[in-house]
């Protein structure tokens, strides 16, 4: 790598790539060549920088200038103005109120963040082993292998208080210790769980794509501690780039002798390979994951025996999440005390969260445990989009729960979230505004779990389906008294009786929304009204004749021709034929089309008539 006067770091995380980062990179190559300065600028593709909503983003060193929402058309300006004349392009910088933010570290999104697992993500080129080494990579592995016994290294992890980042929060050192203590068995395995499936979580993907060597180093340290000489990365097939990057990292490490026989001249030998899934959420569960690596259906098996005793091919196995392994090298290099100084009493260190939903700064953040939801959503996340109000936040994906505005000052850690009916999960945070219907959201999560249930145990297979049917009934206006109690009863049974974590936690979204938004369930059932105007059967559209200007646009856009009228008489929706597609609402230039909670009286009347007719037929 030659020294050049400018380093251009383009975020090539999946978010920015989907927004066109690769086209921008190509354009830079062209424009730099046109201006004969190719040898003055280093173009570096990095992993995810975090603020996906600003994407595509880039940082230009030595100054650290941060550009956001860059398009291929902007490239010429950046090269001609910034690179050639030294005048950074102000219009591409982030505007915060009246201030223009020039430098990356001044962006408010980064202020409360402390990056441990994400340290290099968005800073180095993930294709380059040299860049990883330049930031201190593989030093921790060297220290562990040359200066520590496995037990000493396990003790450091124990003192750091690190807990599994995949969702359960099980102390990492206990798993390692169990396998370490098994001296009878010579063959042991370490598995990195990269089957990230929680909707709304993408930290594992970003880590695997953005800093693959860190995860590999973490895995090797774990392997040394427990006495394993073979490791597996199990990565979802939906993440092709992550698979490529890890495979490449393994090859590079082997080439340099950082992996293979007698690493660093010690007795430690290690080999790793990548295994992929084929689209099954349940494979994130460790027993199911092991079945999948063995080439079978990803069905979970009862625990015990735990994988630490009898895992892959019956051998002692540790399954660690990607983010957990990502923390290991830094804990070793900076010390257990440093790591444990962050966080709360029982949840130490930092946690990566994926912010999504109706929030301004969607993206990937890493903050100390114990930060409040308010800080996370309003300071780091920048608050709600537009003038919308905060209504609820869903934490922990389909295993987690919804919390409300009353919980905004809750410190985020394993215990506090659990006590309130949510869950840390893998760290997906979905923020919702007042336009979202909580019954509908719960139905959506339930639908996901029904779809992903492997079908092996009946509480999950049948119980969740029953719950979904009740939710579908409620959201279509056919809810009955007693439905809420039935949901609670079913939810409790499924939680208690299911075989694996998927089933045990699947009722959480329903239970937590009943706990905090019971009135919404009641209004759906008793008043047949969806007050958030989301459930189509429990709302209707209406044209306000005072505001209607008679332009006929709605009538022309209506797919069922159920809007009629004239310039003089204004327009009316014929409710019986309306399919509630919302086209009229979207196209009205004067916002005369309104959404109204509840069924239209005409529909209520018609339903009564139909019921009567059906009864007559029966008689």
């Amino acid at each position: 790598m030659s020294l050049k006067r400018i380093d251009l770091l383009i975020c090539c995380g999946s978010g920015c790539v989907s927004a066109g980062a690769l086209k921008i990179k190509e354009r830079f190559h062209e424009v730099l060549a046109e201006n004969n300065i190719t040898n003055e600028v280093n173009i570096i593709e990095t992993g995810c920088m975090g603020p996906c909503d600003y994407g595509p983003v880039m940082v230009i060193y030595p100054e650290g200038i941060f550009y956001q929402k860059v398009t291929p058309e902007d490239v010429e300006d950046i090269v001609k103005e910034h690179f050639l004349k030294g005048r950074p392009v102000t219009r591409l910088m982030l505007q915060d109120k009246d201030k223009t933010i020039q430098i990356q570290k001044d962006v408010p999104f980064y202020h409360k963040q402390i990056k441990v697992a994400l340290e290099n993500c968005g800073y180095i080129n993930p294709d380059s082993l040299e860049e990883y080494i330049a930031t201190g990579g593989y030093e921790a592995l060297g220290r562990v292998l040359l200066e520590m016994t496995p037990q000493e290294a396990i003790n450091i992890i124990k003192e750091s208080g690190l807990r599994g980042r995949g969702g359960g929060g099980f102390p990492t050192h206990i798993k390692w210790q169990m396998v370490h203590d098994n001296t009878q068995e010579k063959v042991k395995y370490i598995i990195c769980n990269g089957d990230e499936g929680d909707p709304g979580a993408f930290m594992d993907r970003s880590l695997l794509e953005g800093d693959p060597h860190r995860i590999l180093e973490g895995m090797m340290i774990a392997a040394y501690c427990m006495g394993a000489s073979e490791g597996f990365f199990y990565i979802r097939a939906e993440y092709p780039l992550a698979i490529t990057r890890i495979k490449q990292a393994i090859e590079q490490a082997k080439e340099l002798g950082l992996m293979g026989q007698n690493v660093f001249g010690t007795d430690f030998c290690f080999d790793a390979e990548v295994r992929t899934g084929a689209g099954a959420f349940v494979c994130g569960e460790e027993m199911a994951l092991i079945s999948s690596i063995e080439g079978q259906r990803g069905n979970p098996t009862p625990k015990p025996p735990y994988p630490a005793v009898q895992g892959l091919w019956g051998k002692p196995t540790v399954v660690n999440n990607v983010e957990t392994l990502g923390n290991i090298p830094t804990i070793i290099s900076r010390g257990a005390e440093w790591f444990a100084s962050m966080g709360t009493e029982k949840s130490k260190g930092t946690k990566v969260f994926a912010l999504t939903g109706d929030i301004r700064n969607t993206g990937l953040v890493e903050v100390p445990m114990g930060i409040t939801l308010r800080e996370l959503i309003f300071d780091v996340g920048g608050g709600m989009i537009g003038d919308h109000k905060f209504k609820a936040v869903q934490l922990g994906g389909p295993s987690g729960g919804c919390l409300t505005a009353d919980h905004l000052d809750t410190p985020v850690d394993y215990e506090n979230l659990k006590a309130r009916g949510a869950m840390m999960g893998s760290g997906g945070i979905i923020v919702m505004n007042e336009e979202k219907c909580m019954v509908n959201v719960a139905k959506f999560f339930m639908d996901f779990c029904v779809e992903e249930s492997c079908g092996k145990c009946s509480p999950c297979r049948i119980g969740l389906k029953q719950m979904l049917e009740i939710l579908e009934r409620i959201t279509s206006g056919k809810g009955k008294e007693g439905d809420i109690d039935e949901l609670l009863r079913l939810g409790e049974s499924v939680s208690k009786l299911s075989l694996c974590g998927l089933g045990q936690t699947a009722p959480n979204p329903v239970l937590s929304t009943i706990r905090y938004f019971r009135d919404e369930y009641e209004s759906h059932i008793r008043d047949q009204s969806c007050n958030s105007k989301v459930c189509l059967d429990l709302m209707h559209f209406n044209i306000d004749k005072e505001r209607c200007i008679g332009c006929s646009l709605c009538a022309r856009k209506c797919p069922t021709n159920c809007i009629s009228g004239s310039r003089e008489d204004k327009y009316t929706i014929h409710q019986v034929d309306c399919i509630k597609c919302g086209n009229c609402f979207d196209v009205c230039p004067v916002k005369a089309v309104e959404k109204i909670p509840g069924m239209h009286p005409e529909i209520v009347e018609r339903q009564k008539e139909m019921a009567k007719a059906a009864k007559r037929n029966d008689d």
Partner: protein, 151 residues
């Protein structure tokens, strides 16, 4: 073709998933045919029903022929909150197919999938191995047009 793919892997049971992936990718219609199952069964010495069991467990395998390009629209909650339903409706109109169907010209198959892990840019879809984010109805139209134009 099937034998060639199989022989790249050791004839052990744990390679089943990878062999199936490779066969499906090599097949222009992105599916696993009955002949392929027989060939794999012969190579790995596994009963056909075991292979069908595995194939139907995982959502990415198809036992029926599909289009040249596979559109997988994310139906997970973060995308739903950001309007994936409208995108699905639009895709249905542009392509003239329902979910799970292939266009008459054999170009596109429309599928739904679980979270693609690009939730910061929801709603999202994947066409073959490319991810498209921040979708709007207009953007979807452009993307499909540009793929059609490439042919």
């Amino acid at each position: 073709m099937y034998k060639e793919i199989c022989s790249k892997y050791a004839p052990t049971k744990d390679n089943l998933i990878y062999i199936l992936h490779e066969i499906q990718d090599a097949e222009p219609q992105h599916y696993i045919s009955k002949e392929a199952v027989l060939a794999v069964s012969d190579y790995l010495k596994l009963p056909e029903n075991h292979i069908y069991g595995v194939m139907t467990f995982y959502s990415m395998y198809s036992t029926t022929p599909r289009g040249k390009h596979i559109i997988r629209l994310c139906e997970s909650p973060p995308c739903y909150i950001k309007g994936s339903e409208n995108i699905l409706r639009k895709l249905g109109i542009i392509l003239g197919v329902e979910v799970g169907e292939t266009t008459k010209d054999g170009m596109f198959t429309l599928e739904l999938c679980a979270c693609l892990g690009v939730c910061g840019n929801a709603p999202v879809m994947m066409i073959n191995e490319d991810v498209y984010g921040d979708l709007s109805e207009e953007k979807v139209e452009e993307i499909i047009e540009s793929i059609r134009g490439r042919q």
